[in-house]
């Protein structure tokens, strides 16, 4: 897989510089690391701050979702690598408007330790911090160990919902509670068709034959549930939905949203082909689909593949999901 870049070491810095040059109305750099992005116009005083962080290579995740009704700041690491605790502390400081900061991010060991350490660092600044972890990837641990699961595209829903709650003026506990509710209501599964290349590694992260796919693979190429021959869109979508429903059954009258997400190379044409099955299956369970998302919301650079994220909504989650938001990659309302 060919990439357009200069020095591999400069990939992330140049990416951020271009992002901010192209969208100065949305993003600015904060602090001295060059790896913390904050809203161009900070949220209003007294608003709960929401901060996230993680490795690069997942645009719009993470940085892209800094914006009104979404995140306040983000610490970005190298491609697929956690940012440092120092950077996360900077991001927390950038997000703080005096009402405390929710750390909302995916469950990866390095990120968790660093965000915890960042919390220790900002204690000196008297910033109250809470944490909600996304653990939505059903392929990464059985239900009995659900708290060990990786966080993947579910964070898109969590950012949106928590962001709307904070924008409404709720306090830190309330924003944290609704973020946790959103995180708990999300289930995801991915399927990879091809690898991507981490610039500094210079070769594909994993090998996969021309006619193979891997069900349940993680967004950094973590092992999945099975690897086998490419199947039809209907079969792939059917199995993915099966696995989500096995983990979170739906019933008559349930309201859900679903994110049909490309990991990068897979074009929207193919997401829409999958959506036919997704819709038929969910409606077949008696559920109503609200605000489906189809596109590239959480990616692994040029990896081919898709993920589905299902979120079961109650009235509160649904109204926050539909509330306005605005960033360079996503607008609602």
């Amino acid at each position: 897989m060919k990439k357009i870049l200069n020095a591999p070491e400069a990939y992330v810095d140049e990416m951020l510089s271009g992002l901010i040059a192209a969208h100065p109305e949305y993003y600015r750099l904060h602090g001295e690391s060059g790896k913390v992005v904050a809203r161009a116009t900070p949220g209003k005083a007294g608003k709960v701050g929401i901060v996230t962080g993680g490795g690069s290579g997942h645009l719009p995740v993470f940085t892209g979702y800094v914006g009104t009704g979404l995140l306040d700041a983000c610490a970005i690491g190298d491609v697929f690598a956690s940012p440092s605790a120092e950077q996360m502390a900077d991001a927390i400081r950038a997000a703080d408007q005096g009402a405390g900061v929710l750390r909302l991010y995916g469950n990866y060991g390095g990120d968790v330790m660093n965000f915890d350490m960042a919390g220790d660092l900002v204690e000196f600044d008297d910033i109250a911090c809470t944490t909600v972890l996304l653990t939505d990837d059903v392929a990464s641990a059985p239900p009995a160990e659900a708290e060990k699961r990786r966080g993947v595209a579910g964070m898109v829903y969590a950012f949106k919902i928590a962001g709307a709650a904070a924008e409404e003026g709720r306090d830190l506990d309330a924003v944290t509670a609704v973020a946790q509710k959103a995180a708990d209501a999300c289930r995801s599964i991915g399927v990879a068709l091809s690898s991507c290349t981490v610039p500094q590694a210079g070769k594909p992260t994993f090998d996969i034959a021309d006619d193979e796919i891997e069900m349940g693979m993680g967004i950094h190429g973590e092992p999945g549930v099975w690897r086998g021959k490419l199947r039809t869109a209907d079969q792939i979508a059917g199995e993915m939905i099966d696995r989500l429903l096995a983990d979170m059954p739906l019933g008559q009258g349930d309201r859900v949203s679903i994110l049909v997400n490309s990991l990068g190379a897979t074009p929207p044409e193919e997401l829409y082909i999958l959506y036919n099955v997704v819709k038929a299956r969910l409606e077949g369970e008696g559920a109503t689909i609200v605000m489906p998302l189809v596109g590239r919301y959480a990616t692994s650079m040029e990896m081919a593949g898709v993920s589905f994220t299902l979120i079961k909504l109650d009235d509160e989650l649904e109204s926050l999901l539909k509330a306005p938001c605005d960033c360079a990659f996503w607008r609602v309302g």
Partner: protein, 204 residues
């Protein structure tokens, strides 16, 4: 024999050299069970430390705090953060002191282990760097002679690696490999064996 800043500098330099030497090996070990960045993390961290080695203060506590911060900034990988946490724990103990009696080392290693365990929220026995530190703390406990301490530490870090090789990983990225991790070294334990051997000047 006591340890002062000059001795610390020598120890750091030995670790830094060992990490450069083992760069590919550590990346490969981590690549087999994780994301393949452990050599990167450790060379980056040690390079950052060596860049300021000459400026380290006499105060061993402050010197180790600076080392911890170098790791914090250099990398967000789990191991970098754990190293920083462990160094910080030791730094706290040594604040204001310019010399260190080797007899305190077992206790300091245990302190580092405990703080790192709190940070990583993993149990002992999970086949991680915590088990290496635990083995070193136990094997050196009660020893006061520097040379005997070094021998015990280097041997313990090596032995525990072998003891755990055939266990299943239960923590971090390696967990996901499940049974495939049996028979493979935990990359963090491997790295700690190399670090301890370098500090103990017991490199082959």
């Amino acid at each position: 024999m006591t340890i002062d800043i000059a001795a610390l500098r020598i120890g750091l330099a030995r670790v830094a050299a060992a990490m450069e030497r083992d760069f590919e090996e550590l990346n490969a070990a981590d690549g087999a069970l994780g994301d393949g960045d452990l050599g990167v993390t450790l060379t980056r961290g040690m390079r950052a430390i060596m860049a300021q080695a000459d400026d380290l203060p006499e105060d061993l506590g402050r010197a180790l705090l600076a080392c911890a911060q170098a790791f914090t900034k250099a990398s967000g990988s789990s191991y970098g953060t754990l190293m920083a946490t462990g160094l910080m724990a030791i730094a706290k103990e040594l604040k204001g002191e310019t010399t260190l009696d080797p007899a305190r080392i077992p206790d300091l290693v245990a302190k580092a282990r405990d703080q790192m365990q709190a940070r990583g929220k993993a149990d002992l026995g999970g086949k991680t760097v915590l088990d290496s530190l635990d083995a070193v703390a136990t094997a050196t406990a009660g020893k006061t002679d520097a040379s005997a301490l070094a021998d015990a530490a280097a041997t313990a870090a090596e032995t525990v690696l072998e003891t755990f090789r055939d266990k299943r990983a239960t923590v971090g990225r390696a967990r996901i490999f499940g049974d495939k991790s049996v028979g493979m070294d935990d990359p963090g334990m491997l790295a700690m064996a190399r670090i301890v051997r370098a500090l103990a000047a017991r490199d082959a």
